[in-house]
Symmetry: C3
Subunit: 320 residues, 3 copies
């Protein structure tokens, strides 16, 4: 595996799931694979879960880890040719990225959407520069439009907790006070489309996700109808994807707090499990009662980030 961005990159999901379970039973089984190999984790944005779980996964596999925190403001890379670089950008990406590749075997990149230029964000400009110029396998640690390590961990969590062969999974928008990217819902939708589940996506009108991620999912604007009979509720806020009105891209165009997932919402489901990728703003996305209930999976879901990442790094090490 040379890159890990979309669900196709991981191959058949049954095989990926089997490897996840094998690693969960013995996290150090493939430790020989990482000997004398170095992972470079490059953060253009802050991270808690991704940083800790990725570092842990790499160490489980016997790798050395170098963490590079790049304050997006402080380290501006020039991307154009021909520019006389006498401004605030002290290095060109055509030097910086190959140099980073010199000192490692694998690269993980976190680089969020700017939410001001849809075309730039959805072209995955930063991620693709690393793929093109680093000379190393690259995996996304949440980029402008995808967060596949999270979606893979979500899949593992659903497989572990499902009680029917093909569960009904609902991705629901919920309100938030800050404009958030679409990376998590995009990848979740993409992975659920590939999994053996019935996917329903519910959100206010105008918040339609990109069709390439929505795939064959059923889109239902009535949140109550969407929740009926659901086995899993996956809550997440995202800002306006700008498909209906391009000027709305990255904006908060709805603050309807009736979408907050509370016990009444959960009563509509089939004793549904509650999921969220964290961090979560309580009583905005979900009430205290729901997130603390026996049906809440948020902590095991976070714990599975170590497992999904271990499978991805294992695959990349095997392909070196």
């Amino acid at each position: 595996m040379r890159s890990f961005i979309n669900v196709e990159d991981i191959g058949p999901l049954e095989k990926a799931m089997a490897e996840a379970m094998e690693i969960k039973n013995d996290r150090f089984k493939y430790q020989h694979l990482g000997k004398n190999k170095t992972l470079m984790m490059i953060f253009f944005n802050n991270s808690l879960r991704t940083r800790l779980s990725t570092q842990k996964a790499a160490m489980n596999l016997g790798m050395n880890v170098i963490v590079l925190d790049v304050n997006a403001g402080a380290w501006k890379l020039e991307t154009e040719r021909g520019v006389i670089m006498d401004g605030d950008k002290s290095e060109h990406l055509l030097e910086a990225i190959p140099v980073m590749g010199c000192y490692c075997d694998l690269i993980g990149v976190r680089s969020f959407a700017g939410l001001t230029d849809r075309e730039y964000d959805y072209a995955e400009t930063v991620l693709n520069q690393f793929i093109k110029y680093s000379g190393r396998p690259v995996f996304a640690m949440e980029t402008a439009t995808v967060h596949p390590l999270q979606a893979f961990a979500d899949l593992i969590t659903i497989e572990e907790h499902k009680t029917v062969k093909r569960p009904k999974v609902v991705l629901t928008w919920a309100p938030h006070c800050r404009a958030l990217p679409q990376a998590v819902p995009n990848s979740f939708a993409q992975w659920m489309n590939a999994a053996d589940v019935d996917l329903v996506i519910t959100h206010p009108k105008g918040y339609e996700l990109d069709p390439k991620f929505v795939g064959n999912a059923c889109v239902e604007y009535d949140q109550k109808k969407a929740f009926e009979g659901a086995d899993f509720i996956y809550a997440k806020n995202w800002s306006n994807p700008g498909l209906t009105n391009p000027a709305d891209y990255g904006k908060i165009t709805c603050d309807d707090r009736s979408w907050t997932v509370d016990t009444e919402h959960m009563s509509w489901t089939n004793n549904g499990k509650f999921m969220h990728c964290l961090p979560v703003r309580r009583n905005l996305i979900v009430t205290d009662d729901v997130i603390e209930s026996a049906n809440s999976l948020v902590i095991p879901e976070a714990a599975n980030r170590e497992i999904s990442c271990s499978v991805v790094i294992k695959r990349m090490l095997e392909a070196l």
Copy 2:
């Protein structure tokens, strides 16, 4: 050992001292204990000695180490239930702490006193949240009211340098230009109470430490009388503990520079050794002459931080 906060946690001091000496002779003897185990060091406050010595101790024991710097201002955790989290706090401790516990085997926490709310500080609110919610053994890397890794290193240093069976040890307040917590003197007093020494505490009136730490020590307000016949002088500033006047908590209510430890002060002792936990402000806490003298133990004392921490981590690994 599930937590390391107070002197009782380490058990009989003779046994702890014997282990310290064993590890000092061979720092890598217990390296097998830490294989495939991960220490997470969480810093809500800056650190030099604690960070370096704890990381070194964990590596001596064969552990992987993840360091998490949490700028207290930037990462505000919500602690109340029922709050609609639409303000500056992006995560609730009830999610954040168990998630951190997911990715490691042991946790070290540094979180200083805020010095504005005595009750909050002395309840060790942050530390206890980690103990309650992380699911992992937790040790204090200086918290609101204690610094046991330092006190244990101090004990080792005194045992190594004492020339009588039961030395006289004097904890003396000294002036400082900033308001400092009471964690170091609290733990030092607690550990010396448990050790085979005669402990005298001297400070200006109004700076009385909490009785639970003072224990059976003799409190002497006359610094000269306190120093007479002392084998060890342990200097440290602390801000007003607020026991006499609660409104004074965390304030500087005395700036008497006659308390600065100089050669005249040391001449009152029994050729006493000088100790300080560092960092130290010269010519405020202690003069250049005293800290540079042959009787100064500040560097070996700092070096013993690696040893005290190694014993603590060893104990926690053995109990996993």
Copy 3:
């Protein structure tokens, strides 16, 4: 080897080169040397290449690595005796440096020139304090006046790419928008003097480097004459070294953009290779065409930083 600052520290260059090639063929050959040894990397200034390549080299050699980022503004060390430390400096170097030495086996220090006080900078005050007080072998990761890890990597790169026994190597000044130190050109000149090359240094009048680094090099103020017949062009900006006019020290006294290395400049050479230590400001130091040409060695040169550093750390480990 107890310190690595000047070219003499590495001994005969033929031997150093042979070791570099040996390590480049098998980066992990000397991994046993670093077992249970710790490198402390202390950064008073930011770093990309040096940080990554040094960390990689130490891990190749089996060492543990502790990285300490010291924001020069936030951690001010008092250096004078007798000062009452009631200002912004919370620790004296006479405590801080030996304490850092307690927790490691080797120390790497990065500390740039302040460019305001030539005497202070050229005395290598910070580096020499570490050498004097840490009790550990110390190597420069770019200090006030030298960058020997870079110069050694440059030598390796020249040896790998030369097509004649004794190539002509030209160190050329180039314009820049910020005042930069002289560390890179100083060390490059020093190492080239010791190597089997013909060294020419070219720069505007007033930018003369310190004679102790210039050595026997030919200084040529006409850039075109300098370039004629060159096998290697090593471009670098530096600020005024203040030798002609002390008041000019650290200032930009020339902004002549005709010195920018472009294809016409390169046409004057003997099909010369282009080198630069990076980061480089394109179209100010060098044009896009030249740095992207087949004759550009900037990426292999950066990759050789891992090799030069591996040799230096290996030597220090062997001498412990």
